[in-house]
């Protein structure tokens, strides 16, 4: 998610000043994506330069300086909301590579390697789920962020389970264990907060 579009989204609700934007950004992301005030002002300057927001001229530079979104900014935001993120190429996933290597490495029990990662991921999921248990802090935004992380980790565990099953079947069917060349995913997908 880009800070640029997050700020445009906040400004689409009405004019706001810089410090307020920072506070609301953190509140909306359940404080999971903290933002420093420098990032806010740098981004606002760029948005202003691009004609997507306009500053309130009546107030001098500083935390009380207000901003509002322009028509171009509204259009940019609307376009961004409907543009799917680039998921077309698989990431170069370290976990995938480790399991592939473990399967081909003599003397290594790939099932044991898979279990090490499975346990770690389940433990991480337990921690995220503990955050859900505390309903006092659990507003809608925070719930969405925690759910997204749980589903991401869950998908990795499902992949590990499937890999485990495939390796077991391959061993039963006597697939040759000699090293082979195998394709590694090439592209890495960018995730997280972009400036």
């Amino acid at each position: 998610m880009s800070v640029r579009h997050a700020l445009l989204a906040l400004l689409s609700e009405g004019p706001k000043y810089g410090l307020q934007l920072r506070q609301e950004f953190e509140a909306r992301t359940g404080e999971v994506w903290p933002l420093n005030v420098g990032q806010v002002y740098t981004t606002l300057q760029r948005l202003e330069r691009d004609g997507l927001v306009e500053a309130d001229d009546t107030v001098e530079e500083g935390p009380q300086k207000g901003f509002h979104i322009t028509t171009e900014g509204q259009a940019e935001l609307s376009n961004w909301l409907r543009t799917p993120p680039d998921l077309s190429s698989p990431p170069r996933d370290e976990l995938v590579i480790k399991v592939m290597v473990a399967f081909r490495m003599p003397g290594v029990d790939a099932h044991e390697v898979i279990q090490v990662h499975r346990r770690y991921l389940v433990q991480l999921m337990q921690q995220w789920t503990r955050l859900k248990e505390d309903e006092s802090r659990f507003d809608l935004n925070f719930a969405l962020v925690v759910d997204a992380e749980l589903f991401r980790l869950d998908s990795l565990i499902r992949w590990l389970d499937t890999a485990d099953g495939r390796l077991k079947r391959a061993a039963m069917e006597g697939e040759a264990m000699a090293p082979q060349s195998f394709p590694l995913p090439k592209a890495r997908r960018k995730v997280g907060v972009k400036q």
Partner: protein, 240 residues
């Protein structure tokens, strides 16, 4: 003292070449107030573990203790009584009786155990109310959604003074929101002092547990460490 303890449990089906070792030397104890998840793929032995823990099946060797009582020391009737009084079961397909209303399904185990019908019904209604189902008490299973049916099944599993809750893929047929609601109810039962074992292949479900035990080919191969504080997750995020 553990509410459930499995000591050196093995289970073998068949003989000779057809012999299948469903469980091999399992040790597991579950304290009051704690939720333990048993994770494993199909055929790993997790459902067998649950049926043996719940005295629905005998182990080939080893001993099961429920609330301090060795199951091998109990007669058939003694086990049936223990199941009615101390153990609640939750299954993926709910196992509600189609010809009984929600409140009748929940009160049935109490009535079978000799509780007067009026008293059993009052306890059943209270249990349904705890699960937000008071206004569905007179509905029959086919008039309830999947999530509601499972909540009725959990209400039935915890009604009375049951102390041990055993659940087999309790949210397997539910969407993720209903699955989460089911796990919150199971966790709440544990917070009230029950011990629970949930067997599942679903990591989202298992992540509600205090401890996750991993089963593979009938053996416990691993388990999670005590859950760390989740605050560390927030502190470690980028852009602090």
């Amino acid at each position: 003292m553990s509410l459930l303890e499995l000591r050196d449990i093995s289970k073998v089906y068949g003989e000779g070449a057809a012999e299948v070792h469903a469980l091999q030397r399992i040790d597991l104890s579950v304290e009051a107030g704690s939720l333990v998840a048993v994770m494993g793929s199909s055929g790993s032995g997790k459902s067998t573990l649950l049926t043996i823990a719940g005295s629905l099946e005998d182990p080939s060797s080893g001993e099961v203790y429920v609330d301090g009582r060795a199951l091998s020391s109990l007669s058939r009737n003694g086990k049936a009584q223990l199941r009615r009084q101390s153990i609640g079961y939750v299954f993926q397909d709910y196992n509600l009786l189609a010809g009984l209303s929600a409140v009748e399904n929940v009160s049935l185990p109490l009535e079978l155990d000799g509780v007067a019908a009026r008293k059993a019904q009052a306890a059943a209604l209270e249990s349904l109310e705890n699960f937000g189902l008071k206004d569905r008490a007179s509905h029959y299973p086919d008039q309830l959604s999947g999530g509601e049916r499972q909540r009725v099944a959990i209400a039935r599993a915890v009604v009375g003074n049951r102390r041990l809750l055993l659940a087999d893929e309790p949210s397997g047929a539910l969407d993720s929101n209903n699955a989460e609601a089911v796990m919150r109810l199971l966790l709440a039962a544990c917070h009230r002092g029950m011990a629970a074992v949930v067997v599942t292949h679903d990591a989202q479900l298992a992540s509600w547990a205090d401890r996750v035990v991993f089963l593979r080919d009938g053996r416990v191969v691993d388990q999670t460490l005590p859950v760390e504080s989740p605050e560390a997750l927030l502190a470690d995020l980028p852009n602090q």
